[in-house]
Symmetry: D2
């Protein structure tokens, strides 16, 4: 807690609905909304054992969670503290402030995307009939969806980025999105299935063999999670 | 339906399960979801008379809607057709396909953001008490929110980008986001108030005087729209 | 000189080969290289009268130079001072430091590109035979070059970016480059002809009529400048 | 040669100064310039044995060269062929054309940067006195340079990007640049020392331990190459 002062911690702890007193469980059924400037994010644990994902090693999953995801949480919290300082400093030019806002955007979406990714991993890769038919209704067939999703992923090999199946609430379309890095992303879209294509997601296990990683991901999708997200979007 | 040929309409109509026979009304009370590959977007008219926005000229608003927004709708529709062709062409490398997916992302978010922007413009600039208190709850005070929102906007002067007040559904925080261009954006976030900072939003009226444009925007915000969007997000 | 302390000034003055004593002219025939951390850039005046460019108004040119170019020079100098402070502060995380390095890159290339742009503007638009033949040798014909250069420019309409005819010294090819913003750019390439496609380059005169601006640019190219730059590159 | 027709090969072969007839050595002392549209790039072999770099495994270096560098060469050549087709197709909208130009920029700089990177690798990590003094003249001390270079690299860990020590010919400054991906880069700058920070440069050997990779890079810099590049730039 080096970079966060006690006051921040108390406020943040209240914001996320947990008690600041160790051992005392928060009573709130759902966390209340956080403070735009004071919010500090707590890392979400892996929703499965690091060694339990088919096709991806325990070492890779553990490093991915610990170094890349938790690393982004820590960076996000520090950037937020820096923003708060900068906001009260009249000497900070707007474009310098925005340099921090850019890092905030990048880290926020890194945190969000990683949490969505891990939550839709660790399953048996089998989509049930209702998910399959909902996807088929939008893409013509489930295979047509999978084919495009895999193609986007393949094209991101060797660099950074994400593939997102999402529901665009302004266009009312369930479609696949290409993202170049954490900071890219479709506005007003509910993510349904998220695939991390940064090289730290696969290099340790597969080197440059991107296609093998994509296969592994499909084998280990936790479709129940995607189904829950999909259920929150408008039906076709 | 100028930009959509009959075949596309029939396919799309079939795809979304409504009747393609003229005169037969679909029973769904709300528009059904579009087809991921066949969908073609129809431009949404300005929700006000082009000359009715305080502080922004009719000529500017009309050009912004016609050239930049409708231009993006047309481009999006053409890019979608190209993607459909490319998907069935086995010779298209994945990275060439992704070049089109990038343009799709850029144009989709341009369309979405412009529709959100015009819809939160053309008002009297006065936020009612409930909106003010909801924003104050997150930012400490309404003024603290406005101060950061304006600072981000100022820093984007002379380039491209957007400022978005949005509710991040993963972090449960209502906060301001900096965006470098249409393709940037926070994932899993519900947009509440959207400000276009591309130079075509103000150069014609204000030249490089960015601060005057930001003033004009605040004078003409249609807060009723922002309030409706905010009402759909979780309370703090 | 608000943001630069006296010591900096003296060092910077020495670095650019001028005397720090008012009235004493530096004897160096060419400015010596600047200091990586202490360097502060001086704005270069327009190489022509603001009203002397065919097809672009005095008001537009003056605003472009004063607000966008000089604005970037000022921002660059401030960002450089901030970097120097950050470098000596052990508490600055590397990714926060890089936020400033990103702004430095953006502003540096904005400054460089604007200086190159103004320097290849204000002419009669007529390329002499040697330039034409050198370009034709690379592109098949001078018209083929112009056609691609114009197409890239057209595609950048409504957003930000640059078109650069440049000589890639690693590939030994004279070719046209698309650039999304100041921070994009081909590595190891000598710029020969530079066209600013940010909307502040034309909106004031032409609104969204991009093609008219491109015509105006071609009418006012100072080809002598491009020829001098080309002469420094390897012959085909 | 699947994607390049015979005519292209002959032109390209001429362009790079080699004979199209196997076994016949080209007489040209230096390759002549290539054709902007017809040029096809030939991969440059590693300038050292893949297993000869201190601190980086043969497997990693071989995969980096073969999959990432040669992969980019192949992609660049295909994108160039696509551009040529698109240029003659009047139905190609300018923004679709630019999607290919963006990929061309990305792949061109990937090729250029990788060639520069491998060429400044495989040495003993010892800079001679003249290089050290030239760098010290710009950065205050050689250590100050190394410290900033390492900091930028550290901040790029977990994502993509490059660090470049380069001489900016417009500003006359030798300085370090941060680059977010292949397509970023300082305009009008001569690269002197180039460090690849894409995760494929180190994950296979070091996982997420970025600092160890940076150490390994410094141990294996071939300073003779950097010195030669530096010698071509203006003296301070």
């Amino acid at each position: 807690m080096d970079n966060v002062d006690r006051r921040h911690f108390l406020l943040a702890a209240t914001a996320v609905g947990v008690s600041a007193t160790p051992g005392v469980v928060a009573t709130a059924a759902q966390p209340s909304a956080g403070h735009a400037f004071l919010y500090q994010h707590e890392p979400v644990p892996l929703p499965f054992k690091a060694g339990a994902v088919k096709g991806l090693s325990e070492k890779l999953i553990q490093s991915h969670w610990e170094n890349n995801y938790v690393g982004s949480v820590k960076a996000l919290n520090i950037v937020r503290s820096r923003l708060q300082q900068a906001l009260t400093d009249a000497n900070t030019p707007a474009y310098v402030y925005n340099g921090l806002k850019r890092e905030q955007l990048l880290r926020t979406s890194s945190v969000v995307l990683h949490e969505l990714y891990f939550a839709n991993l660790g399953g048996d890769g089998l989509a049930d009939a209702s998910v399959r038919s909902r996807i088929a209704a939008s893409f013509g067939s489930f295979d047509a969806w999978e084919s495009e999703f895999r193609k986007i992923a393949q094209g991101l090999g060797g660099g950074s980025g994400w593939v997102v199946l999402g529901y665009n609430t302004q266009l009312n379309v369930l479609e696949n999105y290409w993202m170049a890095d954490h900071a890219t992303g479709p506005v007003g879209t509910t993510p349904v299935l998220v695939l991390d294509m940064y090289e730290h997601s696969y290099q340790m296990d597969y080197g440059a063999a991107v296609a093998k990683y994509i296969d592994a991901f499909f084998t280990g999708i936790r479709w129940e999670t995607a189904a829950q997200r999909l259920a929150l979007t408008r039906q076709g």
